[in-house]
Symmetry: C2
Subunit: 430 residues, 2 copies
């Protein structure tokens, strides 16, 4: 055995603790695989005395994360602090600037500062690795950057947030509404006390920015992602979706179109038979459509100490083995600045749910507006009769440009007989 790879870990929360436990459990096996032991030599965490389920007595403790970089007994820095800026950004810049490889699980950091950090890494000739930042234990970063690197990717999409998928799955299985299921998820620890980061789609968007950068060889553009969360998905929508042969999933989706890179995060109706529809509960799934490979589906746990630690240590093993693949699969200087396709130009099918007064002529008015905006109806469900009372109308459309759809919906919303803002959910043909 040769010189060990000495690791400095910043942040000993769920993930950091998991990394220490993984290396304690599987270190010997990993050393055999890698031909080189992986040893945590130094850490930085708030409370040295906390029990992390693993012996931390022999470690060098630093009060400031950046001091890990200067530590001569640290060859590679693991940033497991979190946050798009502040300590995490300082540590990443310092580490790469000093020529020390960086492994991070921090999607927010990379979604926003990814291009800058990739350039720093390339300049220093050291790896910047982030398998744990997207879809936890699923080795999707490696798949896109290496395994599928021979393909021109047409589209990449996935269920990237376990909290949202758990809520949507529970809603479908129990018929309950969003608020009730969210409350239960919070009680069970599946959702945060302040859940907006997850349920408003921000977390999914961070991950999508990284997937898109890897798939299309461009700078991560978190700022250019159209983001909608799942707060407005109702039990009624889920019920209608089932009736129409769909499930509702929060997808992050990026595809290259004639108008540029389209990146969007929003609830989607996906066909029941699509592999992504079968990804349920807290699981994540990612599908890559490549020109030669066709569709490749990956599914696994998206979060948790074990899966995330598995991903962090996979990156460390790569570094120990001397791997030198650029962070986003192309040299940072070659990262494209793709034209961004605006959401208004999105071409797709739509599910629309209206609450209208049940009286003659309403459907004619709605149909006329849709015709004026060149929106073609594919199916329409109006169930039950309840004269002069509110009834839901559901319709699905053929392919329509989003700007036409939103124009039509604004006019429909203004109709007298329409009692609440129309609900629109995009349908994705997968």
């Amino acid at each position: 055995m040769v010189r060990p790879l000495r690791i400095g870990v910043a942040g000993l929360g769920t993930v950091g603790g998991g990394v220490l436990r993984l290396l304690a459990a599987n270190g010997e096996r990993i050393a055999q695989r890698t031909g080189r032991p992986l040893v945590v030599t130094a850490v930085c965490a708030r409370d040295p005395s906390k029990d992390r389920g693993v012996d931390t007595s022999g470690l060098r403790w630093h009060g400031r994360a950046v001091d890990l970089v200067a530590d001569p007994e640290v060859d590679v820095v693991c940033e497991l602090i979190g946050g798009a800026d502040g300590l995490a950004l300082d540590l990443a810049r310092t580490s790469l600037g000093a020529g020390k490889p960086l492994v991070t699980a921090n999607k927010a950091l990379l979604a926003i500062h990814g291009a800058e950090l990739a350039a720093l890494a390339d300049r220093a000739g050291v790896p910047l690795a982030f398998e744990a930042a997207v879809a936890g234990g699923i080795p999707i970063v490696k798949s896109l950057r290496e395994g599928l690197a021979a393909n021109r990717v047409a589209r990449v999409y996935g269920i990237l947030n376990g909290t949202c998928n758990y809520i949507l799955t529970q809603m479908r299985e129990t018929g309950r509404d969003f608020t009730a299921v969210l409350g239960e998820a919070q009680a069970l620890g599946y959702a945060e006390a302040d859940p907006s980061f997850d349920i408003d789609g921000i977390d999914t968007a961070h991950k999508l920015a990284l997937l898109a950068a890897l798939a299309f060889g461009g700078r991560p553009r978190f700022d250019a992602i159209h983001v909608e969360g799942i707060r407005h998905v109702t039990a009624l929508d889920i019920q209608f979706a089932a009736e129409l042969g769909y499930r509702i999933k929060l997808l992050g989706l990026a595809r290259m179109t004639e108008l540029g890179l389209e990146q969007r995060v929003h609830p989607c109706m996906v066909p029941n038979a699509a592999p992504i529809a079968a990804v349920e509960g807290v699981f994540n799934g990612v599908v890559v459509d490549g020109d030669f490979v066709d569709s490749v589906v990956h599914e696994g746990r998206g979060a948790g100490a074990g899966p995330t630690a598995s991903a962090v240590v996979a990156d460390l093993i790569d570094i120990a083995r001397g791997s030198r693949v650029p962070a986003f699969g192309v040299p940072a200087t070659a990262l494209a600045d793709h034209r961004i396709a605006p959401i208004a130009s999105h071409l797709g099918c739509y599910y629309i749910r209206l609450l209208v007064v049940d009286r003659p002529g309403v459907l004619a008015d709605v149909s006329a507006v849709l015709r004026d905006h060149r929106v073609s109806i594919e199916a329409l469900i109006q169930r039950g009769r309840n004269p002069d009372q509110p009834v839901p109308i559901v319709l699905t459309t053929h392919e329509t440009v989003e700007a036409q759809m939103t124009g039509a919906l604004a006019r429909i919303a203004a109709l007298d007989a329409v009692l609440e803002p129309p609900r629109m959910i995009r349908i994705e043909k997968l």
Copy 2:
């Protein structure tokens, strides 16, 4: 741009032609990703004049595959000839012996000579890469060798043969019997004129030997795999499976047990809700159960020019990027020689179908035999009454040691009222 990676391709059949077309289509993009162009400089194929959908006029043609190794304009050899011995083995030995990296799609070659070739590669310090040998476009070799390398793998299993999965899917969807569906598959070109390599499980076993070697860091042991094909699966079994909540799939499965490495290829009843049950038609799927990552599912096309070329070129990109991971994820000298668990010691649940004469006492006789062999019945289906005529009886068992099961079946087969050999299909709890 630096010096190109110069590739010599032996064999321009489906896969070889696909590699040439892929590099023609995506070469520029790949050069940008890799920082180094990938260029096919030389080939060896029977018929230089054949149209392969790509310009081959500038290539150096060799009459003998091994001459690619001596060609000074070849940096890496692609073995796409096929076959476990003969030309392919000669080429692999010569290339690695001469210190030229080898990329191959040849599962038979590696399942049998993998340990020897890995040792040659290590000795020369050059890569031996075979992503295309298992599950076509799915980057499962990379997942096991790198992405999931931090885990102790408990089990790896998959649907590894598209022909068998197509036949079983068709049988389930149409209710027709094996022979009819096989004939149709042959007419459509989904099955070979001599289909035994696929339907008798040999192809799956070759791939399983490689997956097990990667997952458990051992020498590939094709010779130690228990192999059964799908010839004996009937429409009736598929119908009973559906009734019991299962689908029948041909799985290759390897797991580490207290008695050693268990490797088996046979038709399995898998629960409807298991992700692998949803892998249908010609698709392949592979599931890895790791101690930290839990279950990771991969699904995609298992064969065809495009997916296989995608895998071959991914290996070439790795080599161009300077990757140096040992063939089976551990140095060849450290490949374990695992104890092999005999199939007789397999512990699992079973589906048994009998054809018996419908008369009093038959069930009592069958039950007594099972009791004597300590086989505990979980469920029993006896449908319809037809005194003194043949009727099927189906039963499923609780966990049973295979030796007990086969002992019981031998005695049951000998009962007067039992009209044909009992059919047994293992049930896999996934």
